[in-house]
C-alpha cells in the first residue's frame, strides 16, 4: 500500500506539473545583444489589415518591422504582393524606416540592429493604404478571401567570437603545464543574434613542419531562423522577379580570423577556409541539408612551436542575404443591394 500511495503522490505531482507552480525569475544581468536567432521580425499589426473589408473601400495594412538581431539592415527590400483583381495600393508613405520606392509595391528600408545603446533594436511600423476593388468580376459571390503577402529581403551578418586553445605541443613533449587544453568535442555555441548561427567550433592542431603547427578549425553553421538564406548579392532579385538560381540560395560567406575579436581596428590572421569562395580566402558554406553545414578553416602560415600553448580569440564573420514572407488573409465583402 505504501508503494502505491507513493506512486499516487508522484502521479499527482506529475499532473500538477502539467501546469507547474514555478514562478519565472529574471536574472539581473546586462543585455547580451549577440543572443537570439532572429534578424528582421515582421508582423501585420492586429486588425491592420482587418479580417473583413467592404468592396470599393480603402483600408489600412500596417507592418511592424523589428530588427531583433545584432546587425543593422541597410537597403533591405520589402515587397507587397496583392491579388490585383481585388486589391491595389492606394498610398504607401515613405517615412522611417522606408528610404525610397524601388518598384511597384516595393520599397527599400533601413533598420538598425541591437547595440549597447539600443539593446532592443529598431522597431518601426510602415502603414499602407490599400483599396479593395469593386467585385464586378464575381457577379454572385458575396465575399472573396484574398491574401496580402509581404516579403522582405536584406543582407545580414553574423559575428561570433570564441576563445580557442592553440596547443603547439600536442604530444606534450615538453612536459610543462599548459594554460589551456583542447576540448575534443569542440565548443558549442547557441546563437549570435542572427538567424545563421555558429553552433560548434572544433579545434585540431596539425603538424606543419618541425618547428611549426597549423591550427585547424571545423566550424558548424546552422540556419536557425524561419526564413531562407540567399546570396548577399541577390537581395534585390529575391524580392522581385529578377533571375535567381539554386546556387543563389542557402550560401553564406565565411571569414575566420585568429587572434581577432569584433573590436574595431584589431587585426588578426585570416584563415583559409574550405569550401572556398572563388578568388578569396573566405569560405562558402551551403546550408541546404537540414539547414546546416560544416566548414574547415586552417591557418596555412602556421604557428611557431616555440610560442607554446596559449588561448586566443577566434573571430568568425558570416555574410549572407536573408528573406522571409508573412501573409494575412482579408475577406472582401460585397455591398449588397447594389
Amino acid at each position: 500500500m505504501i508503494k502505491k500511495i507513493s506512486l499516487l503522490v508522484i502521479v499527482m505531482f506529475l499532473i500538477a506539473g502539467c501546469k507547474g507552480f514555478t514562478t519565472e525569475k529574471h536574472p539581473i544581468t546586462g543585455v547580451d545583444i549577440y543572443k537570439g536567432t532572429d534578424a528582421l521580425k515582421m508582423d501585420f499589426l492586429k486588425n491592420a489589415p482587418p479580417k473583413e473589408v467592404f468592396e470599393d473601400a480603402l483600408f489600412k495594412a500596417a507592418i511592424e518591422l523589428r530588427n531583433n538581431g545584432a546587425f543593422g539592415i541597410k537597403n533591405g527590400y520589402l515587397t507587397l504582393t496583392l491579388e490585383e483583381d481585388y486589391l491595389s495600393i492606394d498610398e504607401w508613405p515613405i517615412k522611417k524606416p522606408l528610404v525610397t520606392i524601388a518598384g511597384d509595391g516595393q520599397v527599400i528600408f533601413d533598420l538598425e540592429g541591437k547595440s549597447l545603446i539600443n539593446p532592443e533594436g529598431d522597431y518601426e511600423v510602415t502603414e499602407i493604404t490599400l483599396k479593395a476593388k469593386k467585385m464586378e468580376t464575381d457577379k454572385l459571390s458575396e465575399t472573396h478571401p484574398t491574401s496580402i503577402l509581404a516579403t522582405a529581403c536584406y543582407a545580414y551578418q553574423t559575428k561570433a567570437t570564441e576563445t580557442v586553445c592553440i596547443d603547439t605541443d600536442a604530444n606534450n613533449l615538453r612536459g610543462i603545464e599548459k594554460v589551456c587544453a583542447i576540448d575534443e568535442k569542440g565548443k558549442s555555441l547557441a546563437s549570435q543574434g542572427a538567424p545563421v548561427a555558429v553552433t560548434n567550433i572544433e579545434t585540431e592542431i596539425l603538424p606543419k613542419d618541425d618547428n611549426s603547427v597549423a591550427p585547424y578549425f571545423i566550424i558548424q553553421l546552422k540556419n536557425k531562423g524561419d526564413g531562407v538564406i540567399i546570396g548577399y548579392d541577390k537581395v534585390r532579385e529575391a524580392c522581385s522577379y529578377g533571375p535567381i538560381t539554386n546556387e543563389d540560395f542557402n550560401w553564406v560567406e565565411v571569414k575566420v580570423y585568429l587572434s581577432k575579436s569584433d573590436k574595431e581596428g584589431e587585426e588578426g590572421k585570416q584563415l583559409d577556409c574550405n569550401p572556398k569562395l572563388e578568388g578569396i580566402n573566405s569560405g562558402k558554406a551551403r546550408l541546404k541539408d537540414n539547414k546546416e553545414d560544416t566548414i574547415r578553416c586552417v591557418l596555412d602560415e602556421g604557428i611557431d612551436k616555440s610560442r607554446g600553448t596559449y588561448s586566443t580569440p577566434l573571430y568568425i564573420e558570416l555574410d549572407y542575404g536573408y528573406t522571409s514572407t508573412i501573409s494575412e488573409e482579408v475577406t472582401i465583402k460585397k455591398i449588397l443591394g447594389d
Partner: protein, 976 residues
C-alpha cells in the same frame, strides 16, 4: 464412448434434429480437439489426420454422434490411416468395446436393482412404508419419469427444459422453486454436456436479446447520421495538430485527467484494474474525441459513445474469460471505429471520383456509413443470433441503399415524390434500381475516364447566400388519384426559378409528355404530347420569362382519350437559358526561381505563406458544373522564352440535376491580358477565337466559335465535355504578369451561356371509362395523316350498332357535317375511319366525331348512349424530298455546294439552316426558293481550295416551316 451430438461439441444451438448455423472450420477444429481428448494417446496431429481424411471429412455433417464417427471409421477400416494413428485407434476401440461391455453390465445390474427395489417398495403395504422408504419410492418414480422424458424428448426440447430449469434456479421469485430447480439440475451433474449446454443456452439467449437491441441502436445511429450529417473524416485530419490541441485543452482533456485520477484511485483501493483496457480507453477517447471536438459535429460524439458502449457491454463481456479474447475485443473496437470514421474518405480518395458535397454526403450517410449496423448484423451474427426481424431490418436497409444509389442517377431523393401511386413508383424504382445503379456506375466511369485522360476539370460550387440557382420543377402531382380514359388528365407542378443575373431574364419553354410506365428510357419526343399552361408567349418559343426569383404553377394536360388505360408516366420538361460563371485562381513564379527553390528543397507555397496550394475552380450554382484547370501551380514562366501552359475548360451536369444541355449559346474564356490564348493549339484548332468585347477589365475574351457550338457532340450534352488549349505567356510579358513581385496570383474566368432542359415525372393511373366512350386514333394528328379512326367502346355492354357523324371546322367557320352513316360493331367496340384523301384537312382544322350506340344490356334490353370526341389537326413538319451535292462528284478543282428539296403539307414557307462537318466546317442559313410546291434550299459554296482528296464532307440541312424544325437531311461525299 460418450453419446454427444456433434453440434454439442461445437456448442451450437440445436433446432429440432438439425444443427444450427455453424462455422465449418471451427466445427472441424473442435472435433479434432474433442477426438484428441477422447482417444488416449492419439494426439492432435493424428486426430486432425482422421477428421480431414478424404473418406471421413465429407461425411462429418451426416453424423449425429461420436458413435457414428467411430462406426464410420471402423467400417472403412483403420488401415487407411498412418501406422501410428491405426495403432492408437485400434487400441482405443479395443478398450472401448471392453468399457461398453462393462458399463452395459453395470447399468443392467443397477437397473435391475432399481427395478427390483421399486417393485419391492410398491408391493409393500402402506403402513409398512417408513418416511425414508416413501421418499426413496418417489425418487425412483421421478427417476423413471425423467428417463422416460429424456428418451422421448428431442435435443431441442431438452435444451429448452434445461434452460428453463437454469433460469428458475437463478431467477425465480420463490426460493422454494429455486431450490427445487437447483436439485433437479444437480441430477445432471457429471453430465457436463447437459448442464453446460443449459448454461451456454441461457447465456446465448441473453446475448441474443441484447444483440437485437444493439442492432436496433445501430440502425437508429444510422438514421441519426442522416440528420446530423456525420460523414466520417479524412485521414489527414488525424495528423492535424490543432485537432489534438483543441481536444486536449478542452473538456476532453479535463475528462482524461479525471479518468486518470479515478483509475489510479480504483487501482489503489479497488484492487482490480486492467492496464490494457485503460490504455485502450485513453487512446480511443483522445483520438476520437479530438475529432468530435474539432469537427463540432454531434454525430461524431454519437458514434464515439456507441462504440465505447458496445465495446464495454458486448465485446468485453462476451469475451470476459480469456485474455486473448479481450485483446481481440479491443482490436475489433479499433478496427470498426477506423472503418466507421475514415472509410468514406478512403473510398472517395481511392476511386478519385470527384464527388460534390451532396453526393458525398449521400453516399456517406446512406450507403456506407452504417458500419456498425452491418458489423453487428453480419460479423456478430453467430454471437448475437437474433430473431427473424433482424433479417428484415437488414433487407430494408439494403433496399434503402439500392434506392439511394439509384436515386443518384434518377434524382429521386430530391424529388418531391407524387402523392398518388407513391407505392407503385417506389416499386418501379426498386425494380429499376439495379439498372439505375448500373447507369450511375457507367456515368461515374465515364467521368473517371474523362478524369484519367485529363479532360475532367474540377470545380466547386461558389458559396453564396441565395442558392439554389436555376429553374426547378417542384411538387409535381396529378390532379386526381385516378383518371378515366374519357377524362382530361391534368398534372400540376410548381416551377421555381432564380436567375444569376437580374439583367438577363430567363426564358422558359415548357412541354410535357406521357409514356407507358414500362417503357425503357423514355425520351422526349417519343411520348404522347400534352399541353402545358401558362403560355404567355404563344407566338414565341417560350412560355414565360423570369426576371429574378419567381414561382409559377404549371399544368400539363392531356385530352380525353389520349392516354391509354394503365399506369402512365408523365414528364414535364422545362428548357431555359442559363448563365454559369467560373473562375480559377492560380499562381505564377519565374521558372528559374521555381526550379532553384525546388532544388534547394524549399516549398514555394510554404515560403510565400500560401495556404490554398491547389486551388479548385469555383462556379456559380446552377444546372451546369463548370470546371477549369491549368498546369499544376505555381506555373513557372520565363523572361527568356515563351511559356505555353495548358488550360482546360469542362462542362458537366451539376450533380443533383437531371436533364441535359440542349445547346451552348456562348462559352467565353477570359485570360488576363498579360497573357494570351494560343487558339491554334486548341483541339481542334480554332475552337476559340479572340473577341473584341471583354466583360472584365484587364482580361482578353476568347469565344467558343459558332461552328464548334453546332457540332453534334455539343448538342444535347449529357456527359462531361471538355476543351483544351495552351496559353501563351510571352517572354517580354513576364514583368506584366509578376509586376515587381517574385510571386503573383492570377485568375482565369469562364462564362457559359446555354440552354438547359430539366425534367420531372409523376405517375398517373388511367382507368377504362365506365360509359360508352368515343376517341380518335391516333390521339394527335397532323395534316399528313391519311386516316383518322373514330372508335366507340363500352367497357361492359355489347354494342349492336352505332350511327356516326363527322364534323369539320376551320379557323374561320363553325362545324360542318362532312360525313355520316351507321356501322355494325364487334362486341364492345365500333370503328369508323375518316380518310383525309376524301375529306381533306389542313393544320388548325378540328374534326369532331359523334357516335350514338345501341347497347344490349345483360337482360336483353336495348339502350342508347351517345358520346363525342374532338381532334385538332396539327402542323405537319416540312419533309425532305431530296438532298444532293452539286456537282455530284466532289473534286479539289471545283467548289462544292449542297442542295436540299423540301415539301410542306401545310404550304408553309420553308426556310433552312445548314452545316458542313468532317473535312470542312461551316454553318449558316441556306437560301430557299419555291419551285413547283417544293422548296429548294442551297448552301454556301465550299471553295475548291478548301477541298482535299480523300476528305469526307458531311452536309446537314434542317428545314423549318415557321413553327417547327423538320427532320434534318444528311448527305456525305468523299472528295476524289
Amino acid at each position: 464412448m460418450k453419446k454427444e451430438s456433434f453440434c454439442e461439441v461445437n456448442n451450437f444451438i440445436i433446432k429440432g434434429d438439425k444443427m444450427g448455423t455453424f462455422d465449418e472450420k471451427k466445427f472441424k477444429t473442435d472435433l479434432i480437439k474433442k477426438l484428441a481428448e477422447e482417444v488416449d494417446g492419439i494426439g492432435h496431429t493424428r486426430a486432425e489426420e482422421i477428421i480431414t481424411h478424404k473418406d471421413v471429412a465429407p461425411h462429418l455433417k451426416t453424423f449425429g454422434t461420436f458413435d457414428d464417427l467411430h462406426a464410420h471409421i471402423q467400417a472403412m477400416g483403420t488401415d487407411k490411416f498412418s501406422a501410428s494413428t491405426k495403432t492408437a485407434l485400434d487400441e482405443y476401440y479395443k478398450k472401448a468395446v471392453k468399457a461398453t461391455e462393462r458399463t452395459a453390465k453395470k447399468e443392467e445390474e443397477i437397473e435391475e436393482t432399481e427395478e427390483e427395489e421399486s417393485k419391492r417398495l410398491s408391493d409393500m403395504k402402506e403402513e409398512d412404508l417408513t418416511i425414508e422408504k416413501k421418499e426413496r419410492l418417489e425418487e425412483l418414480k421421478g427417476l423413471k419419469q425423467r428417463e422416460k422424458i429424456e428418451k422421448e424428448e428431442s435435443l431441442w426440447e431438452r435444451h429448452q427444459r434445461l434452460k428453463k430449469l437454469h433460469e428458475t434456479a437463478h431467477f425465480h421469485e420463490d426460493p422454494g422453486e429455486r431450490v427445487k430447480a437447483k436439485e433437479e439440475l444437480d441430477k445432471y451433474k457429471g453430465n457436463r454436456f447437459s448442464s453446460g449446454f443449459a448454461h451456454i443456452a441461457t447465456h446465448y439467449d441473453a446475448i441474443k436479446i441484447s444483440g437485437a437491441w444493439w442492432l436496433l441502436f445501430a440502425f437508429l445511429l444510422f438514421l441519426l447520421d442522416l440528420f446530423t450529417g456525420f460523414s466520417g473524416y479524412n485521414l489527414e485530419f488525424l495528423w492535424n495538430a490543432t485537432v489534438y490541441e483543441k481536444a486536449i485543452r478542452g473538456p476532453i482533456g479535463a475528462f482524461v485527467i479525471l479518468y486518470l485520477i479515478f483509475y489510479i484511485f480504483s487501482w489503489i483501493f479497488g484492487g482490480r484494474t486492467n492496464i490494457r483496457g485503460f490504455i485502450i480507453r485513453i487512446i480511443v477517447l483522445l483520438l476520437f474525441s479530438a475529432l468530435s471536438v474539432a469537427s463540432g459535429n454531434i454525430g461524431t460524439t454519437f458514434h464515439l459513445v456507441f462504440a465505447l458502449l458496445y465495446w464495454q457491454m458486448v465485446l468485453l463481456r462476451f469475451n470476459e474469460n480469456k485474455e486473448e479474447d479481450k485483446a481481440s475485443a479491443d482490436l475489433t473496437l479499433i478496427e470498426v471505429m477506423l472503418f466507421d470514421f475514415f472509410i468514406i474518405d478512403g473510398f472517395a480518395n481511392l476511386t478519385r471520383i470527384p464527388l460534390d458535397d451532396r453526393s458525398k454526403a449521400l453516399i456517406t450517410a446512406v450507403s456506407i456509413l452504417p458500419v456498425w449496423f452491418f458489423y453487428i448484423a453480419i460479423w456478430e451474427k453467430r454471437r448475437l443470433e437474433m430473431p427473424w426481424w433482424r433479417t428484415a431490418i437488414v433487407f430494408i436497409t439494403a433496399a434503402i441503399l439500392i434506392f439511394s444509389v439509384a436515386a443518384e442517377s434518377m434524382d429521386f431523393v430530391y424529388a418531391d415524390a407524387p402523392e398518388i401511386n407513391r407505392f407503385k413508383e417506389l416499386k418501379d424504382k426498386a425494380i429499376k434500381a439495379p439498372q439505375n445503379a448500373g447507369k450511375y456506375l457507367t456515368n461515374q466511369i465515364t467521368r473517371q475516364l474523362e478524369f484519367a485522360t485529363g479532360g475532367y476539370y474540377e470545380g466547386q460550387v461558389e458559396k453564396q447566400e441565395n442558392e439554389p440557382l436555376g429553374v426547378y420543377i417542384k411538387d409535381i402531382e396529378a390532379a386526381d388519384k385516378e383518371f378515366y380514359e374519357d377524362e382530361r388528365i391534368s398534372v400540376w407542378a410548381t416551377l421555381e426559378a432564380k436567375t444569376l443575373d437580374n439583367e438577363q431574364p430567363v426564358n422558359v419553354v415548357l412541354s410535357c409528355e406521357a409514356y407507358e410506365s414500362d417503357e425503357e428510357d423514355d425520351k422526349k419526343g417519343e411520348g404522347i404530347e400534352g399541353t402545358v399552361t401558362p403560355d404567355y408567349f404563344k407566338e414565341e418559343e417560350k412560355n414565360f420569362m423570369i426576371d429574378a426569383l419567381e414561382e409559377e404553377d404549371i399544368k400539363c394536360e392531356f385530352e380525353p382519350d389520349s392516354l391509354k388505360e394503365g399506369t402512365q408516366k408523365i414528364k414535364i420538361f422545362a428548357g431555359f437559358n442559363f448563365l454559369t460563371k467560373a473562375y480559377l485562381k492560380t499562381y505564377f513564379v519565374t521558372n528559374d526561381r521555381l526550379r532553384a527553390m525546388r532544388r534547394e528543397e524549399i516549398d514555394v507555397f510554404d515560403f510565400y505563406r500560401i495556404k490554398d496550394k491547389n486551388p479548385v475552380a469555383k462556379f456559380t450554382n446552377g444546372p451546369v458544373k463548370l470546371g477549369i484547370e491549368t498546369k499544376e501551380p505555381p506555373i513557372g514562366i520565363s523572361s527568356e522564352y515563351d511559356t505555353k501552359p495548358m488550360i482546360g475548360v469542362m462542362l458537366d451536369i451539376n450533380p443533383g440535376w437531371k436533364g441535359k444541355i440542349k445547346e451552348i449559346k456562348e462559352l467565353i474564356l477570359y485570360i488576363p491580358d498579360s497573357m494570351e490564348l494560343d487558339t491554334d493549339s486548341c483541339d481542334p484548332s480554332g475552337t476559340f477565337g479572340i473577341s473584341d468585347e471583354s466583360e472584365y477589365e484587364g482580361y482578353s475574351a476568347y469565344k467558343l466559335q459558332d461552328w464548334v457550338k453546332k457540332k453534334k457532340e455539343l448538342i444535347d450534352i449529357e456527359e462531361p465535355k471538355s476543351f483544351r488549349c495552351r496559353l501563351n505567356i510571352a517572354a517580354d510579358k513576364v514583368s506584366k504578369v509578376l509586376g515587381d513581385s517574385p510571386f503573383a496570383t492570377k485568375y482565369f474566368r469562364v462564362s457559359a451561356d446555354y440552354i438547359f432542359e430539366t425534367e420531372k415525372s409523376a405517375s398517373v393511373t388511367v382507368r377504362e371509362s365506365k360509359d360508352f366512350n368515343v376517341h380518335f386514333s391516333p390521339t394527335t394528328a397532323t395534316s399528313s395523316e391519311k386516316e383518322i379512326v373514330c372508335i366507340g367502346k363500352h367497357p361492359e355492354k355489347n354494342i349492336k350498332n352505332a350511327t356516326y357523324l363527322f364534323y369539320k371546322k376551320d379557323a374561320y367557320k363553325d362545324y360542318e357535317l362532312v360525313k355520316e352513316g351507321t356501322i355494325t360493331c364487334s362486341a364492345k367496340e365500333c370503328k369508323v375511319s375518316y380518310f383525309t384523301d376524301s375529306y381533306p384537312v389542313k393544320k388548325d382544322d378540328t374534326i369532331k366525331c359523334v357516335m350514338e350506340a345501341k347497347l344490349k344490356t345483360k337482360d336483353g334490353a336495348e339502350e342508347i348512349e351517345t358520346d363525342l370526341t374532338i381532334i385538332e389537326i396539327k402542323n405537319s413538319l416540312p419533309k425532305i424530298e431530296k438532298i444532293a451535292f452539286e456537282p455530284e462528284k466532289a473534286e479539289p478543282t471545283a467548289s462544292l455546294k449542297c442542295i436540299g428539296n423540301f415539301s410542306d403539307k401545310d404550304n408553309d414557307v420553308v426556310t433552312a439552316t445548314y452545316k458542313f462537318e468532317e473535312g470542312y466546317f461551316d454553318a449558316d442559313n441556306a437560301v430557299c426558293e419555291k419551285e413547283n410546291n417544293m422548296y429548294k434550299c442551297i448552301t454556301k459554296e465550299i471553295p475548291a481550295e478548301e477541298l482535299s482528296t480523300g476528305e469526307t464532307i458531311r452536309c446537314t440541312i434542317t428545314p423549318h416551316d415557321g413553327e417547327e424544325n423538320g427532320i434534318a437531311a444528311v448527305k456525305e461525299i468523299v472528295v476524289s
